[in-house]
């Protein structure tokens, strides 16, 4: 791993220094893969998408003008992953994109169940979180992960996913709500007040 600051390596990469670019990729590749794996599922296809994204990023490094290389790389990878999802939908492997205008529903918690905030150490509970996240539509899942896992802010997520800010807000909210409802359906409840 290079000791050079990221800005220095970006400048070198823009001038054609492949090694500097490889060093940048090495810093982010695993996180990008974790994100793509959330969208497509872990496996060789997700790995291929990430590698393709890395090569595509190298080819277009000259056009990189933003300040966040990480967000730029995530954008390329997320777009490729969503393209794969859409291809799967066209082939009938996935359900069509849900109506995002549908009214949100808040499931009622079960009285007396364990609280959500206590579940992080519960492997069984985390498997339910994983499953609930996997059931989200890919676009919702992508923005929820970009926010709650990768920590991007809403504006960055809007640029990464090439969507409007209002769409990002709506998808994040609906995605969290769906996971919340799924956990409550398992008998867990939220913290009081």
């Amino acid at each position: 791993m290079s000791d050079q600051p990221s800005d220095t390596r970006i400048e070198k990469a823009r001038r054609g220094d492949a090694r500097a670019f490889e060093a940048l990729l090495a810093e982010h590749a695993e996180r990008v893969y974790a994100h793509v794996a959330r969208i497509l599922g872990a496996g060789p296809e997700a790995e291929d998408v990430v590698q393709d994204a890395c090569i595509s990023a190298w080819r277009s490094i000259g056009s990189f003008e933003g300040t966040s290389f990480r967000a730029w790389l995530f954008r390329i990878a997320t777009n490729r992953a969503i393209d794969v999802v859409r291809a799967r939908r066209r082939r009938g492997e996935l359900p069509l994109e849900p109506d995002e205008a549908a009214e949100e529903t808040w499931a009622e918690p079960v009285a007396g169940g364990p609280q959500l905030e206590d579940l992080a150490a519960d492997r069984e509970a985390m498997r339910h979180v994983e499953a609930a996240l996997a059931r989200l539509p890919a676009e919702q899942r992508a923005v929820v992960v970009l926010r709650d896992v990768e920590g991007f802010d809403y504006d960055e997520i809007a640029r990464i996913t090439a969507t409007e800010l209002g769409t990002v807000k709506s998808r994040i909210h609906r995605g969290r709500l769906a996971v919340r409802n799924a956990l409550l359906a398992q008998g867990w409840r939220g913290p009081s007040g």
Partner: protein, 219 residues
């Protein structure tokens, strides 16, 4: 009272406009239901953030730098050369040992003559300075030469002629021409350089192959 649940995620993430944030703040102060919903969303977001990340099964960073394509053939060549040099070393050592054990390249004409010669004795030890032209060389006593003659009938016939006709003969083991031939025998033939030369080349080639292999792996 209008609940603010639809804005709770954005409120949680600090993504509301200041005016709207103030309104939600005010509402949360008076609505336990929305406060509960906010807490649930906060817990849900934390749980999602705590999920383990998938790990790739291979290195996903492509090699973008131009490769040193000459390293691979050099590694192959070095490895093959090392093997060949090892074989050359073994062959050279075998031949060298065989010649040494066989007593050199000059065949002996009589068994007695050969037996009279220590096989490994360097011939030069018996070769003194050539006697001056015309002067007879020093000779063994007659009794000793007669003794050698009885051991080698053929040599016996030449003992007398040796002393007279070959002043240039070497001293010490006069007698059978076979022994003289052996004395005159050249050093054992060696096919090319010493075996150690081939071994040194083998080691150098192996080291080169190892070095190039490590360079390729590092890339």
């Amino acid at each position: 009272m209008e609940h603010v649940r639809a804005d709770l995620s954005a409120y949680l993430d600090g993504a509301l406009a200041p005016a709207r944030r103030s309104e939600v703040d005010a509402h949360l102060g008076t609505c336990p239901s929305c406060r509960g919903s906010l807490a649930e969303l906060r817990s849900t977001a934390r749980l999602i953030g705590a999920l383990p990340a998938a790990v790739p099964s291979r290195n996903l960073v492509p090699s973008l730098a131009p490769r040193m394509n000459w390293l691979r053939p050099l590694r192959s060549f070095s490895a093959v050369a090392a093997g060949m040099f090892v074989l050359a070393f073994m062959a050279s050592a075998t031949l060298d040992t065989g010649f040494r054990m066989g007593g050199g390249g000059a065949p002996t004409s009589a068994a007695g003559g050969a037996a009279a010669q220590p096989a490994s004795a360097p011939r030069s030890e018996f070769a003194g300075p050539p006697p001056a032209a015309g002067s007879p060389g020093p000779q063994l006593p007659e009794a000793q030469r007669a003794l050698q003659a009885t051991a080698s009938p053929k040599a016996a016939g030449e003992v007398a002629t040796d002393s007279a006709a070959s002043p240039q003969r070497e001293v010490g083991v006069a007698g059978a021409p076979g022994t003289q031939d052996a004395l005159d025998a050249p050093d054992p033939l060696r096919l090319g350089p010493s075996p150690w030369f081939w071994l040194a080349l083998a080691v150098l080639s192996a080291l080169l192959a190892l070095f190039t292999h490590r360079r390729l792996r590092a890339r």
